[in-house]
């Protein structure tokens, strides 16, 4: 089966056609969302989870480290944002910075302890750490508000100097989140294809060989862990702002499992855009399928299991194969060449 390294571009462009299309879709979302009968807040949720998922895939797909406890970092980000608003200052940039830094520190500490491992041990350790964070969020109710979580988190206004934008309006917050998402996409696209990203992929394919050609492998695993935690922190901060609350459930194993499923189903193992597709599919399942049946999550889980069995390349992988079949049908020689996506 194909992998991320099969679909790697050779150009050095900052902006690719896919990024342009994506930008257009994001910028016009408020219009077509209501046109298809969906609501504005959904756009915010989708943007936030895309940031989370893309950052997560740097670890999951690119570095090949399967973290089943990543909810801890989006949770830390959310709580940090809320606590900053409540105890330090009502500030957008302060809150987001606090979210990113707090999640980054959590990732730094946990990462230092897990990055010497891989495979099953790594996965189980991340589950255990996720549970530790989740449990702490419930028990430390003096700080975190316990099972109820932090409530009444304000949405600080966006102060641009020449204008002050109230983010209590969902459309305004959506554009802010979409902006953060675009920056994330552009940054991650470059990282994945820069030397750092390539070395991550080498580490995924063979830690032994990567070491024998001179790389301090666990540094790279650690760095990928921290990077994905930082982005999860950003997502968490936005999440706390959007919901105006932060609660332990986001750190539960259940939620951590959801991000794994989203990313795999979308095709994160083989494509940069896999996580984006995966998030879209999840929310379609939740909000479209969910209207028809209460058991939508069960079907989603079954779909995941079937995909792991037969199509672990996910949707992006399936699309890639379909495209290859069409292009070879056009008469082009189907040579075994690695083509850029």
């Amino acid at each position: 089966m194909i992998s991320l390294s099969d679909i790697s571009p050779r150009s050095g462009a900052w902006i690719t056609p896919q990024i342009v299309v994506f930008t257009v879709m994001l910028l016009t979302a408020p219009f077509w969302l209501s046109a298809v009968g969906l609501y504005q807040y959904l756009g915010i949720e989708v943007a936030i989870w895309m940031i989370y998922a893309l950052g997560f895939n740097l670890l999951f797909g690119y570095a090949g480290l399967h973290s089943f406890g990543h909810g801890a970092y989006i949770g830390v980000g959310a709580y940090a944002f809320g606590l900053f608003q409540h105890h330090v200052a009502v500030s957008l940039w302060g809150g987001l910075l606090a979210a990113i830094v707090a999640a980054g520190i959590a990732g730094l500490l946990v990462g230092a302890l897990v990055s010497h491992r891989r495979g099953v041990y790594f996965a189980l350790l991340t589950i255990a750490w996720g549970q530790v964070f989740w449990f702490s969020a419930i028990k430390l109710h003096g700080i975190t508000g316990g099972e109820d979580g932090l409530l009444n988190i304000p949405r600080p206004p966006l102060d641009l100097g020449f204008a002050r934008i109230d983010l209590n309006d969902n459309e305004a917050l959506y554009y802010f989140a979409a902006g953060a998402l675009l920056l994330t996409v552009i940054l991650l696209w470059r990282i994945a294809h820069a030397p750092f990203g390539r070395i991550l992929q080498a580490v995924r394919q063979s830690e032994t060989r990567a070491a024998f050609v001179g790389y301090e492998v666990w540094h790279f695993k650690w760095a990928a862990f921290v990077a994905s935690a930082l982005l999860a922190g950003l997502a968490g901060g936005l999440f706390a702002m959007a919901q105006q609350s932060a609660y332990p459930d986001i750190m539960s194993l259940h939620q951590s499992g959801l991000i794994v499923m989203m990313v795999l189903i979308g095709g994160g193992l083989v494509s940069f855009w896999g996580p984006v597709l995966g998030v879209i599919l999840y929310f379609v399942a939740r909000d479209v399928l969910g209207i028809m049946t209460e058991t939508w999550l069960l079907w989603y889980g079954l779909m995941f299991v079937v995909m792991v069995m037969f199509r672990p390349e996910g949707i992006a992988g399936a699309l890639h194969l379909v495209r290859k079949r069409f292009s070879s049908r056009d008469g082009a020689a189907s040579s075994a060449r690695v083509e850029p996506i």
Partner: protein, 247 residues
């Protein structure tokens, strides 16, 4: 002083002593061979020399510096490179990507988060030059997993070469190759000897005897004989360990 000096290496696993008082010298510019029957300890010896295992006792010196017990990545950065018998390629990547990631120029940029790689001509040219040395030029973008076995062996060596070593350790490079591929490989290594000091473990006695300037025989965890191929043919220890029959 030899380029690579091994002195009194001792290695055990649990109660079993695998290497006992191994001392070797690899001279700069030579092709050195290590041979011996299976289970004799030559692979363990290789692993110790290339940093995969730490010796329990003994020292290893490279170009005068003590490198005993250093990690493989540290050794690679100093110019010690190896290929593997069980092929250890980046199997989801293309041929050129396998080689490129091993280049020291690439490694120097490991912290770069945003620079593009394949639009950098110097890196691409350096990678292609390595591929040329191992006969894979023109196949840069083929997926490494789909190469025929002999070409994968060449790529396996290519990745080791890309690290620009001063000394190259090859672990049973002819493993699994048919006679024609073996001849090609012999030509490849003969071509490399100008530029690299090479140390090879081999089972294929003829291959080793044709290429090596000096061969060490490892048996029962010790070096039981050492010398030029011609001299070894007469060595009584070599005969005793039944290797002589095959030489």
């Amino acid at each position: 002083m030899a380029l690579f000096e091994v002195r009194h290496i001792h290695k055990r696993f649990g109660a079993q002593v695998v290497l006992e008082d191994i001392s070797l010298d690899f001279e700069d510019g030579q092709v050195s061979g290590i041979m011996g029957p299976n289970g004799a300890g030559k692979t363990t010896c290789f692993h110790v020399l290339t940093g995969f295992y730490k010796p329990d006792r003994g020292t290893i010196r490279f170009d005068g510096t003590d490198i005993t017990g250093q990690s493989p990545q540290s050794l690679a950065r100093k110019g010690i490179s190896r290929s593997f018998q069980m092929m250890t390629l980046f199997d989801q990547s293309a041929v050129i990507e396998n080689v490129m990631v091993a280049l020291p120029e690439f490694r120097a940029r490991q912290k770069h988060l945003v620079s593009a790689v394949f639009s950098d001509r110097t890196l691409v040219d350096a990678a292609r030059e390595i591929l040329d040395q191992v006969g894979l030029l023109g196949r840069e973008w083929e997926p490494s997993a789909s190469l025929p076995y002999g070409d994968r062996r060449a790529l396996e060596i290519g990745v080791a070469l890309a690290a620009r070593p001063r000394i190259l350790f090859l672990d049973e490079p002819t493993s699994g190759l048919g006679s024609e591929a073996t001849r090609n490989l012999a030509a490849l290594i003969a071509g490399l000897r100008e530029r690299y000091t090479i140390v090879m473990i081999e089972h294929d006695m003829q291959f080793l005897f044709d290429l090596a300037d000096e061969i060490s025989v490892v048996h029962w965890g010790q070096v039981i004989a050492r010398g030029a191929p011609a001299a070894l043919r007469q060595n009584k220890w070599v005969e005793r360990s039944a290797l002589g029959e095959l030489a």
